[in-house]
Symmetry: C2
Subunit: 159 residues, 2 copies
C-alpha cells in the first residue's frame, strides 16, 4: 500500500489495482445534465433538484416497456473521469480519511454511481428525471425500477 | 431485433449486443449465501431474511474504514450466470412481457444486481449482512453506504 499520484491528499490511501479486468460493461446511453464540469456538479442528489435527461441508445429501446408504471428508478452510471485506486479518501466536508466503501465518492475500484431519481416522463428513448448530480454526457450503465418494499429504509442510520 | 436462443420464452425479445465492451470491472470479493443453485435463491430480498457474508479481497481492506458507522449498505454484484441480450422478459408471476429496465431480473445488458442490506457486523474483511438473495460465490462489484436522505422513497409507486 502506498500513497502516490499528484491529486492524492495527505491521509489518502492508494493501492495497486489488479492487472486485468474480470468482466466488461456496455455503455447503454448517456445522461444529459446542466453540469458541464465536475466543479459545477452538486455534491449529492439531495443538493439538487435539477432536471436531467437520460438518453438510452436506440438499440435498447424495447427494454423501457412498462417503466412508466413506476414513480422512481435507480440509474447506474459510469464515472469515467474518476481514478480507481484510492481506498481511503479525505472528503473536504469531513477533514479526515474515510474508507471508499463508506463514501459515495465517484473514486472507487469500480466507478459505478447509483442515484435514485423521480421519473417525470418517458418519450421514445428519452427519460426526463428529477435529481441528477452527474456531469453532462456521463455514460449510462443500467436503469432499474425502484421498489419501496426492498429499497426504502427511512430509518437507516448514518454518522 | 429477433427472438433466439433455447431459453427464451414466447413474447421475450433478444437483441444483438455491441461487438466490444466500453469499460472493465474488477471483482473485489465474493458473497457467501446459503443458496447453492439459482433454483434455491429467493425471488427477491423481501422474501429472504437469510444471513450472508460478504468476503472482500484483502487488497481492498482499507476501504472498509468507517463503514460500521452505517446501519445499511448497498451491495452491487455481478450476476455471472445471466444472459445479457434480453430486452423484454416474461416473469412467471406476471405472465406477459415487460421491459428489462422495468424489472429487477439478473438478465440485462450489464448484469449488475443491487441489494440494500442491513449491516450486522464487520470483522476484518468479512461483512455479515441480513437479506441476501444471490447464489453462493457471486462476485462482488461495490459496497456503498445507504443514505436515507437520498436513497429512501417509502411512497414510491409501483404497478
Amino acid at each position: 500500500m502506498s500513497v502516490a499520484g499528484s491529486d492524492v491528499r495527505p491521509g489518502e490511501v492508494a493501492i495497486e489495482l489488479p492487472a486485468a479486468f474480470d468482466a466488461g460493461i456496455y455503455f447503454i446511453g448517456r445522461i444529459r445534465t446542466p453540469f458541464k464540469t465536475r466543479a459545477e456538479c452538486p455534491k449529492s442528489p439531495a443538493a439538487s433538484d435539477a432536471i436531467g435527461r437520460v438518453e438510452l441508445d436506440a438499440r435498447y429501446a424495447a427494454g423501457l416497456e412498462d417503466l412508466g408504471l413506476y414513480s422512481h428508478a435507480f440509474l447506474l452510471y459510469w464515472m469515467d473521469q474518476a481514478r480507481r485506486d484510492l481506498l481511503q479518501q479525505v472528503p473536504a466536508h469531513l477533514g479526515h480519511a474515510r474508507g471508499t466503501f463508506a463514501l459515495r465518492s465517484p473514486v472507487r475500484p469500480n466507478p459505478i454511481a447509483l442515484s435514485a431519481v423521480e421519473l417525470l416522463g418517458i418519450e421514445g428513448t428519452t427519460l426526463t428525471v428529477r435529481k441528477v448530480d452527474c456531469i453532462d454526457g456521463t455514460p449510462l450503465v443500467d436503469i432499474k425500477p425502484y421498489f419501496a418494499s426492498i429499497d426504502s429504509f427511512p430509518h437507516a442510520r448514518r454518522p
